[in-house]
């Protein structure tokens, strides 16, 4: 495998030294392309007070190819399926090498704040969301409490 590009080292340093509020990303000891990420649920969203674990992997072609991101914590969201896969334009067609780990994670946080049931990945959730938004949000809150509870400090 090719050696770690400078860009990845730089991004990692920046993430550790100057973290985004509400988001942490730490590279794995054995594989510096694999990050363990946590994102706090945005305020005034059904995911408030939750801490969601994600994994992020930088493929060999990064930054020409988008990073691979997946939710590890269960979440009730129309654009995130049961396996944690995320439907987000910047992770697919709209990826650009000018983006970086930081911006991707911010986009994911924004996706939590404003779900988009019209472009669903989890069809059943999206249906629920469109038919009965309040009910769906209540369920999302419930799941957040159930699976993404903040650890007592």
């Amino acid at each position: 495998m090719a050696s770690l590009p400078k860009r990845i080292i730089k991004e990692t340093e920046k993430l550790v030294s100057d973290p985004v509020p509400g988001i942490t990303a730490e590279p794995h000891d054995d594989n510096l392309r694999y990050f363990q990420v946590t994102i706090e649920g945005p305020e005034q969203s059904p995911y408030e007070d939750g801490v969601f674990k994600l994994e992020l992997f930088l493929p060999d072609d990064y930054p020409m190819e988008a990073p691979k991101v997946r939710f590890l914590t269960k979440i009730y969201h129309p654009n995130i399926d049961r396996l944690g896969r995320i439907c987000l334009d910047v992770l697919k067609t709209n990826w650009s090498p000018a983006l970086q780990i930081r911006t991707v994670l911010l986009s994911i946080q924004a996706l939590l704040a404003s779900p988009n049931p019209n472009d669903p990945l989890a069809n059943d959730v999206a249906e629920d969301w469109i038919k009965n938004e309040e009910g769906a949000k209540a369920k999302a809150r419930e799941w957040t409490k159930l699976y993404a509870k903040k650890k007592p400090e």
Partner: protein, 483 residues
């Protein structure tokens, strides 16, 4: 190419933190490093030539604004290129000068005209703190420094004679600054000029030595500065002459920009639509360029595309193109790491020949080894024997580097200790040491343990290891928790 990792935040701890903006602007948004052979897109954004071309191979749009355009519309930016080269050459000195607030040495001062305004800014801001005249006087009295004074007079605002008041203020400020961080002046053994100790050690000695090796004799500093002053007065050229090697550097950036002409010696390589070509046509194409024809059709196409990118970046954008053999070398190393070849192919093309030339003497065995480089039949032992020297040199370098950073031996001891069966682990470790010295692979017997112990081991020097072992022996005699 610099291998150091620099970030714009280096300026956060300097007296002008806003310089980080300048630093950020001069970086490529794809590789996050300083722009290397910058090119302009039709939408007005600038990237490294190689970065943007690689991106355009995937997606024909601008990474920043998603504007769609074709590769042929890229134009190189000679000015930005020189700006960055000039900037990166002074950047370390700039950070250094701004960080510890040490006095600016003569050459720093002269290196870039803008610097003087920077320094004046600092001085002004410090003046705002309203230092009493008494302090100044005292310091002038106690810590007079001849060279400092001299350089002071030399770098005063050019042209008009400064008023006496501003002169003294400036001087006392400056001297105070000198004395503040306990700066020691020392004489350069080569050019006999006085410099602050740090600047001398860090930059000046090297510069002086290079200068000497070039056969240029540094002129005595005093005359030089006088020269400079008069010259600046007379000609008021944007770039002043400097006594250091940077002089040639500095001038050449301007000249280089003025003389930069897009070279048309090499035709750009066209994009090829491979779908309409059959295998032998593609092969023919590669052969005509002297490229390897190993692998499958997919390999051919990828190889051509990568070569086209390297070629166009080198011959169309770069002001200092390297020659074709260097490009082919770059292509080969890319080929090995990215373009996965199917098993057992014969590398008959130009590239392998090139590589064999490089490793002359051991070419046949080298070639044999390279054949299986990517598969299971790869002969590790042979490879190790062949490159033993290089490996041991690299290991030595790495060890040295780690030695200079923090030693974390104690952690390891504790770690092993916690595991609770020292005897066995110690055995593993001893073999590790031996094998590491032989430069061979450690057999993965018990994956978990080897992983745990092996990783830190690689980071330790031999001395650390032996200390480690001794520690463990002692622990063995005196088991923990036996109270």
């Amino acid at each position: 190419m610099d291998h150091q990792i620099t970030t714009a935040s280096d300026f956060r701890s300097t007296s002008i933190p806003n310089l980080y903006q300048l630093d950020t602007l001069l970086r490529c948004h794809i590789c996050k490093d300083f722009l290397k052979v910058p090119v302009l897109t039709p939408c007005g954004h600038t990237f490294c030539s190689l970065c943007i071309r690689e991106h355009l191979n995937n997606q024909p749009n601008c990474p920043l604004c998603l504007f769609e355009f074709r590769e042929s519309l890229l134009r190189s930016e000679f000015l930005v290129n020189e700006v960055i080269q000039s900037y990166t050459s002074i950047r370390p000195a700039l950070i250094d000068a701004l960080k510890i607030q040490k006095p600016i040495t003569d050459d720093d001062k002269i290196r870039k005209p803008q610097d003087s305004s920077l320094i004046e800014l600092i001085l002004e801001s410090e003046n705002d703190d309203s230092n009493t005249a008494d302090d100044d006087l005292q310091i002038v009295a106690t810590s007079e420094r001849k060279p400092a004074k001299r350089s002071m007079t030399d770098i005063l605002p050019l042209g008009s004679k400064p008023s006496k008041r501003s002169f003294t203020m400036f001087r006392s400020e400056r001297i105070k600054k000198k004395s503040k961080p306990n700066e020691q002046m020392a004489q350069c053994p080569i050019c006999q000029q006085f410099y602050p100790l740090k600047a001398l050690e860090k930059t000046h000695l090297d510069e002086c030595l290079t200068l000497q090796s070039l056969g240029k004799k540094p002129k005595p500093p005093k005359n030089l500065n006088a020269d400079l002053k008069s010259q600046d007065k007379e000609t008021s050229r944007p770039k002043s002459k400097t006594p250091e090697t940077d002089k040639s550097d500095e001038v050449s950036h301007v000249d280089k920009y003025l003389n930069s002409i897009a070279k048309e010696e090499h035709q750009r390589l066209p994009k090829i639509n491979f779908t309409s070509m059959n295998l032998s046509q593609i092969k023919q194409k590669l052969l005509s360029l002297g490229l390897s024809t190993s692998g499958t059709r997919q390999n051919f196409i990828k190889r051509y595309n990568h070569y086209e990118m390297l070629w166009n970046s080198n011959f169309c954008d770069s002001l200092e193109p390297v020659d074709e053999s260097e490009l082919k070398r770059q292509l080969l190393s890319w080929d090995v790491s990215h373009n996965k070849l199917p098993q057992n192919t014969n590398n008959n093309g130009g590239i392998s020949k090139l590589m064999m030339m490089k490793s002359s003497g051991k070419s046949s065995s080298y070639r044999k080894l390279l054949e299986n480089f990517k598969n299971d039949k790869f002969n590790r032992k042979g490879w190790i024997v062949m490159f033993q020297k290089d490996f041991s040199r690299l290991i030595k370098e790495a060890k040295l580097k780690i030695k200079s950073s923090s030693p974390n031996g104690s952690d390891l001891t504790k770690h092993i200790h916690d595991d609770g069966n020292e005897g066995k682990l110690q055995g593993v470790q001893e073999t590790d040491v031996q094998q590491m010295e032989e430069g061979q692979e450690i057999p993965l017997t018990e994956k978990q343990e080897v992983n745990e112990i092996n990783f830190p081991n690689e980071d330790l020097t031999d001395a650390d290891l032996s200390r480690e072992l001794m520690d463990m022996n002692e622990d063995g005699k005196d088991p923990p928790g036996s109270d």
